[in-house]
Amino acid sequence: MYQYDQYDQKMVDTRVEEFRDQVKRRLAGDLTEDQFKPLRLMNGLYLQLHAYMLRVAVPYGTLSSKQMRMLAHIARKYDRDYGHFTTRQNIQYNWIKLEDAPDILADLASVEMHAIQTSGNCIRNISSDQFAGATADEIADPRPWAEILRQWSSFHPEFSYLPRKFKFAVIASDTDRAAMRLHDIGIQLVHNDAGELGAKFFVGGGMGRTPMIAPEIRDFVPADELISYAEACLRVYNRYGRRDNKYKARIKILVHELGQEEYTRQVEEEFAHMKQLGLNPPVEELARITQYFQDPPFDKQASVDIDLSDPDFALWVDQNISAHKQPGYAIATISLKPRGGIPGDASSAQIDLMADLAEQYSFDELRVTHSQNIVLPHVKKSDLYAIWQRLDEAGLAPANLDLITDSIACPGLDYCSLANARSIPLAQKISERFADLGRQRELGELKLKISGCINACGHHHAGHIGILGVDRKGTENYQLLLGGSGAEDASLAKITGPGFTEDGVIDAIETVTDLYLEQREEGERFIDTYRRVGMARFKEAIYG
């Protein structure tokens, strides 16, 4: 994985000192909260309901064991002994003291990490495919491109006060594990006719109040024009994105209001100007970064067999293991969705354990997934049983990847000052109601996503089943949505009808899953049946 050189290190070290100075000025009263807010936000520090929340960047979701251990250390030393992995492959801590924040950033900098631009109206952490570099279905490792974008976007002087936050995702496979088209800019690496690697740009996707799937605006941007094209996309947005209403300020609204063609025309015009300006790193820079993402030294003789005589282990292998490009190896996803647990939470001890396993079995590498799980990307099949045993002891072996209890949930009213309803307790109750693994497996792939308000941090628009918590006359009310997808078959979920109580919405989920079991045809997932049968049939079952 990527390693900082002296320049990268100097940048984050300087940031720590700058932020230390800003916190000092805030604590001394030299900065008002209004003036301090954008500064702390640009360092990932939010003021939530009960305390400060610090969000730490995990660039494109890739971590070393040493970095992972530092995340455990921070949870232990500065927080309440746990951290929360997020849908943008980051981690956040919910109980941070302002005066500790500079020390935390210094600790992070010591392992080449930071919280730069994990919030604020700027370019956020670049997310990517959690199976990058390990899966056979990619045409290249997307992470060197993400790293180029990370460096370019860090402290970008022109794009630090955008109309609204800005999120990139980069993938290199036709299988989309990163919800790429639900980002402000989604990039898919592709080959052109000459066999050169380049970037296909999708601009103007997003969730929130007005969900949109990003349209493709350019089928190929060469590697040595990536930055000038991205700059052109951002400049048009920075100049013309709406600033009168924060709920209409994301780039998706601009692209929608201008129309895809007009937005594209303006970008191309800006690009024609900008590509003359020498904004792009030379191809040698991409080559330099790519070197850090070479395959680890795989054992070519590794056995392809797995002893599945332990039935619980066999279930985990069947559910949580994905195909690796190297025979004899596997990609193991560690589910952070235990029965009754909080989706995405992990204790310091669990984080340490995952770091140990990565060090021992996965070439020192881990990934965070956008569905709030952790991946050991390069594991020998013959080591899987030993890994599983240690995970199981630590409560980290739920065999529910992509099943109904592998839900995404936002922090909701338990933490968030924007929320209208609680998300976490609902996710917990659903995981209890559907605890029977046999039943979950019978239901098959089912992406359940829960948001506690219309800002949609829990991705309810992209759920096969989505739940949106709203406030209805002072009580929490949950709307049910069906038919969304954040994958390569991206689609937006639709609301079924009137909302429910907490228990009522769980009953409604059972109703729709029962209908699926009754109606499904051979090989159909829930989403497939829904698409074939249509909303009306599901509505009828729910509302009678």
Binding site: D5, Y7, D8, K10, M11, T14, E17, E18, Q22, Q35, P38, L39, N121, Q151, W152, S154, F155, H156, P157, E158, F159, S160, Y161, L162, P163, R235, N238, R239, R243, H273, L277, G278, L279, P281, P282, E284, E285, R288
Partner: protein, 141 residues
């Protein structure tokens, strides 16, 4: 103009900056002020005769002025580029990188603190109109 901090050696421009509309109506003005929503590109035909362009920041979070400044510098403007309005200490470094070389903040900024803020980062990741060498360029000579 007592509060203006300049990073230029030339004489302070005496003529007050006029609003963009007025500027476009008169042929001899040499200083203009543009508001956040105005298109800096309409000034491109006049860059040779301009010696002061003031760009207003109505609130510090409105970042349109950064792009306006970049566009003017990219187009060859070499006169004074002044940031006015809600200009705060912690935004000055980015403004410098986008080509601003004078600051006229609503609330005065200690010039020494500004100097420190601007020179804090030894290196930069991007090529911008300030012509500093980005890290990728240092890496590859």
């Amino acid at each position: 103009m007592g509060n203006t901090i300049r990073f230029r050696d030339d004489e302070v421009h005496e003529e007050p900056a006029v609003a963009l509309d007025s500027f476009l109506d008169q042929s001899n003005a040499t200083a203009v002020r543009i508001e956040a929503g105005e298109d800096a590109r309409v000034l491109l035909p006049y860059l040779d005769r301009l010696s002061l362009i003031e760009i207003d920041f109505p609130v510090f979070g409105d970042g349109r002025g950064y792009s306006a400044a970049q566009i003017l510098r990219e187009s060859g403007y070499t006169g004074e580029l002044r940031a006015s309005g809600d200009v705060l200490l912690d935004q000055c470094a980015h403004m410098r990188r986008c080509g601003f070389d004078a600051f006229s903040p609503d609330s005065p900024i200690n010039p020494q603190l500004m100097e420190e803020a601007i020179s804090r980062y030894e290196h930069v990741y991007q090529a911008t109109s300030d012509q500093r060498k980005p890290i990728w360029s240092i890496r590859h000579g």
